[in-house]
Amino acid sequence: MGVERRFEVPSEVLKIADDIRSMRVRGAGRIARAAARALMIAAEKCSISDRNELMKYMEYCSNILLSTRPTAVSLPNAIAYVMYRLKTAYEQGKSTSELIDVVIKAATEFIKYSEEATKKIGEIGAKLIEDGDVVLTHCNSAAAVAVIVQAHREGKRIGVYATETRPKFQGYITTQWLIEAGLRVHLIPDSAVRYFMKKITKVVVGADTVAANGAVINKVGTSLIALAAKEAGVPFYVAAETYKFSPATVTGELVIIEERDPTEVVPEDYLKRNPRITVRNPSFDVTPPEYITAIITEYGVIPPQAAILILREHYGWAIQEKVMKLSKELEDDRE
């Protein structure tokens, strides 16, 4: 981000950044809330009196958080949510202490909104699940689990298949959540998805990022499941809070697919023994919109191709800001 290190950042903020980077904090919603909380702590704990300095300091803290995970859009969205409100207040000439209050208020608001969003998705999504359905899910998505658990609470008898989700076995966490909610779970290896697809009546997965065209970036394997579902005529739903929609993709930016450490896949000594083997470990893949039946958001169920509706309605300001920044850069270039 090119910012020189010159601010003292509270250790709690650095700890949160580290937790996100090392995946101790996982899941788009939790990452987003952790980032909002980090900004809140950064504001609360700072001893800056100059309001211009405060803006630079908050910008600096934002960049630390932004650099932790390249793919998850919930992270920049959470930060943009807070920082946009901060910048607006700054432009209105608010004082340092007022600006700090704005950050705290915005972060609290975001955390509350994101927690409620997942619950709301559960309620809306549960309506799509019918008595007797057999639902397949992949990885560990709070929103997807919310849909399944809510349907179960409404008394619908449903079967659940969970993939183990290599390399980090997040399917185990999903399995644990589902059985705690009173469901029985069938656990299968990722390679057996197509084998079992004929038993599945609906697929519900989460999302890390929803792009402007409705493509969904989610845990690697999602697109293969979507393809197998399409082949078998099984509806494929994505449960995604609107903070997972990416305003940056509206202006053409590509979603970077993060590749993680090979030792998540094989032990260190395997790599040492086999210098000719490269382990490629992408965390995500891209599911094209034509394989997605619908995206379940906290505002309702939309066809994936209508993702732009969510983006324009809820991130109009962010897109606007981006477009203005880009046109300003163009003008600067001309001069």
């Binding site: 390679s191 057996a192 197509r194 293969l224 393809l227 083997i277």
Partner: protein, 325 residues
């Protein structure tokens, strides 16, 4: 003799059908050599053959190989021959089978190698002897390739496949099974082995094969299956009707999870799946490349039409059992 360990391996731990075949033939040879009485020999051969077939009902190669041995043994028994003649018949049948199958595998590997061009990126799945042999020919023909190998859960035999490919000097990439579609756009050809080929051209192979073939089909990447004609199963409409063995949960899920989830979680890990013929570009046999839908012509060449030359294995075994009493 107790075959518990070997049967367990055949069922769950040996992924290459060729390796499974060799394991069975070695035990068969041992049985023939060790027996002191003709009835002992017949009884042991009966017991082991039956166990081996039941352990791996999906493997047509195993079934066809065992049928050859049992048939030859029965011929000598029916003629009233003594121990040494029966023994020699078994040993020579086993040796002939091994030679024929190795020759056929080599031909298939050579044909497969010809389909690969310099600069190709190949994807493969599980552990296949023939695909590995094809890689040797590719390298010796001076073609530079890159191979993407899936780890192939449950079992992770792709880890070993990657090591053996890399040891040929080939640039090798190991990925998780889930990433097959992610990498498909970099792939020129998918090369896989097989457990069995059904009469309609469907291929039974390690679980995960069918979704890789599906992703290849979607990306218009060609899929080639190595299958010597011994792997063609004329008598069974395989499809999903065959009972597919499942890996034991404790072999790939941590025991503490299994005990915590007891009664609430069912683990399913089928070892094989069925790839429909429309996702396969060609099946490579020792008689040449055929479209999967044309496998039926090979069935006709081998077994006549309608297929009449094969004998039901359990009928043969039952007759064998009687000679052991």
């Amino acid at each position: 003799m107790s075959y518990g360990r070997i049967i367990e391996d055949l069922k769950l731990n040996i992924y290459s059908a060729t390796d499974a075949f060799h394991t069975v033939m070695n035990v068969t040879r041992e049985i023939a050599m060790k027996a002191r009485e003709i009835t002992d020999l017949v009884r042991e051969l009966y017991t082991f053959s039956k166990l081996a077939i039941e352990a791996r009902p999906t493997s047509a190669l195993l079934l066809n190989g065992i049928r050859e041995v049992v048939r030859a043994t029965l011929t000598t028994l029916r003629e009233g021959r003594g121990l040494s003649e029966v023994r020699n018949t078994i040993l020579s049948t086993v040796q002939n089978l091994i030679n024929n199958i190795e020759n056929a595998n080599t031909l298939v590997a050579q044909f497969m190698a010809k389909r690969v061009e310099d600069g190709d990126t190949i994807m493969t799945h599980s552990y296949s002897r023939v695909v590995l042999e094809a890689m040797k020919y590719i390298v010796s023909e001076g073609k530079r390739i890159r191979v993407i190998v899936t780890e192939s859960r449950p079992g992770n035999e792709g880890h070993k496949m990657a090591e053996d490919i890399a040891s040929l000097g080939i640039e090798t990439v190991l990925i998780v099974d889930s990433a097959a579609r992610y990498f498909m756009k970099e792939v020129d050809k998918v090369l896989i082995g097989s457990e069995a080929v059904a009469a309609n051209g469907a291929v039974i192979n390690k679980v995960g094969t069918s979704q890789i073939a599906l992703a290849a089909h979607e990306a218009r990447v060609r899929v080639f299956v190595a299958a010597i004609t011994w792997k063609i199963s004329p008598e069974t409409v395989f499809g999903e009707l065959v009972k597919i063995a499942e890996k034991r949960p404790e072999s790939f899920i941590p025991p503490e999870k299994l005990s915590m989830w007891a009664g609430k979680v069912e683990v399913h890990a089928p070892l094989y799946d069925v790839t429909p013929p429309e996702y396969i570009d060609a099946i490579i046999t020792e008689r040449g490349l055929v479209a999967p839908q044309a496998i039926i012509f090979i069935v006709r060449e081998l077994y006549g039409w309608p297929p009449r030359r094969f004998e039901e294995i359990f009928t043969l075994l039952e007759e064998l059992r009687k000679y052991g009493c």
